[in-house]
Amino acid sequence: MTDKFQSESSLAFPGEVHQTPSGGVLVSKLDDVINWARSNSLWPLVFGTSCCAIEMMSAASAKYDWSRFGFEVARATPRQADVIIIAGTIVNKMAPVLKRLYDQMGDPKYVIAMGACATSGGPFFYNTYSVVKGADHVIPVDVYVAGCPPRPEALINALMLLQQKIKKGLTREQIREESKIEYQKAV
């Protein structure tokens, strides 16, 4: 990663301080401030369909404590949630429920696919009658986490990746395009 990307993704408040004799003046963009606020207050939906949910609970509890980064207010209703962490296997019968929960969430909304099952069906990819082969068949996913199940550190890393994404304020395609240009410049 370049220095520019790292500085942009830091936890610092966006903007520049101009010193004047009577004190500093902060100049910033409203979009950046809104994205900064959004990314530091992501309320996850209480949604766990199998063992990944145990790791998610661990990430929420005292030892890993994801509230340090602004995720502590887990909501039991999609109407108050910003991010849905798909923690577990999605079966064919659950898929319409997941879609409905996603539709009920207010914009802007984000999705994290946690673990092998939510990413691709994982251990249930072959010879099963009931499992959806990846939650992205049902709803769009922002961040994928590898692991079966992933450790709490991996989930927190994914949530922080999501924060970086929100702070950049760009779509996935725009981020990809930007990193291409940066790479060409570096070469």
């Binding site: 064919n92 019968k93 990819f125 072959y126 010879n127 099963t128 009658y129 009931s130 082969k133």
Partner: protein, 152 residues
């Protein structure tokens, strides 16, 4: 009763049964025809008092199906496993849901997963699978996943 005592008692009361003690449990093997008489005795004899059917399931052995009943007595805390072998092409067996009410759900699950027809069951229909799954029996060994199938 200990496993040995229980076996002696059961041999006395249900002469048609054979026994297998190779595993952790006392296994009693019956034919489908003896099932109703035997379960009646297991449930109602005061010294046996098997009042709790804590698991009922089915195994597909490719050559035949086996229905497995795990029974427990909440008074005496002794257990027995009853196994009944069925014809794989025409699996039919009497229901035990009038003896242990919990069997009503278990038998519906075995019906949808293995296609076993429980005679005289009060409400034999799919339990969890969505409509249209009748006759597909996903837990049979020869079931094929229509999306991603790997054969060994």
């Amino acid at each position: 009763m200990t496993k040995e005592e229980l076996k002696i008692k059961l041999t006395e009361l249900i002469p048609a049964a054979t026994f297998d003690e190779s595993g952790e449990w006392l296994n009693m093997i019956l034919t489908p025809a003896d099932l109703l008489i035997a379960t009646e005795i297991l449930r109602n004899k005061p010294e046996l008092n098997f009042d709790y059917l804590f698991c009922q399931t089915c195994v597909d052995w490719k050559t035949h199906l086996t229905i497995v009943y795990h029974l427990d007595s909440t008074r005496y805390r002794h257990q027995v496993v009853v196994k009944v072998q069925l014809d794989r092409n025409k699996p039919e067996i009497e229901t035990v849901s009038h003896i242990w009410r919990t069997a009503e759900f278990h038998e519906r699950e075995v019906y949808e997963m293995f296609g076993v027809n429980f005679l005289n069951h009060p409400d034999l229909r799919l339990l969890i699978l969505p409509d249209g799954w009748e006759g597909k029996n996903p837990l049979r060994k020869d079931f094929e996943d229509p999306v991603n199938m790997i054969k060994l």
